[in-house]
Amino acid sequence: MEPIGYGRRSAERLDATFTALADPTRRAILARLASGEASVLELALPFAMSQPAISKHLKVLERAGLISRSRDAQRRPCRLETKPLTEASGWLARYRERWEGNFARLDALLGEFQNDAKHSKRATRQKR
């Protein structure tokens, strides 16, 4: 069984992923599912929310391809689909890598300046 999200273009899928991840309840649901599958009832328990409200969140997560729900079992347990999450973190990882490199070079550059400034201050003091 393939989650709905998988067929779409990668950009759209990433978009759906980030939209789904923007909500704290949905992130908490994903965190719960990371430790194993659960039914809607089980997922609703820790939240002060009705089952329909939780179901709404589950639909968003399902559309983003972040979770899948079993069609056959009576309790229709939800489980985590890890592929979209990996994709989203890969996207951010590349961005992060680029900027971490930039900032590391910036640190080195500014460190140089501050050392130079200290040295020239010391030199001025020694002259006096």
Binding site: L92, Y95, E97, N102, F103, R105, L106, D107
Partner: protein, 162 residues
């Protein structure tokens, strides 16, 4: 001692599908950090992306309505790509807002970049917020630049233009 402290962390958030917000503490006074972000001779020394790239063109006219133009070159194959933009706000040592776009954009998208500098006990917190005019633009920008993705896109572009 700077070396004894933990490396500052780079925080990246995506508050919406059209935004990327990046925050990083830099251990230097903000006048110095601001210079590093706005003076060509300094920008060229760090705003480079992965190793193996240099910045042969870095023109900056920092005033409202002034423009900038950056060109990066891959030192191994000579491939270049550029980024240009217009300043919308330039408050010395505090805030710069500009609109930017890639020179050879296969997906034209204006990006509004706000860079803010806040100093606290000798360290400067730099916040860069990028607002894209569309989700496609954001994805194109992320997949672009000096990444493999852009090299591939340029190859595609060359094929189209040939």
């Amino acid at each position: 001692m700077m070396s004894a402290q933990a490396k500052p962390e780079l925080a990246i958030a995506t508050p919406s599908d059209r935004e990327i917000v990046m925050t990083r503490v830099v251990r230097a006074p903000r006048t110095l950090v601001f210079d590093a972000f706005t003076k060509p001779e300094l920008i060229k020394r760090w705003l480079l992306g992965p190793d193996g790239w240099s910045m042969p063109v870095c023109d900056v006219d920092l005033r409202v309505g002034g423009t900038f133009h950056y060109v990066w070159r891959n030192d191994s194959d000579g491939k270049e790509f550029g980024l240009h933009g217009v300043y919308r706000e330039a408050t010395p040592h505090e805030r710069v807002v500009h609109a930017e776009n890639f020179d050879q954009s296969w997906y034209p998208c204006d990006v509004i970049v706000t860079t803010a500098f806040a100093e606290r006990v000798g360290s400067t917190t730099v916040t860069m917020a990028q607002l894209f005019d569309s989700r496609e633009g954001r994805d194109a920008a992320i997949e672009s630049g000096m990444e493999k993705g852009v090299a591939a896109s340029f190859d595609r572009l060359e094929e189209i233009l040939a």
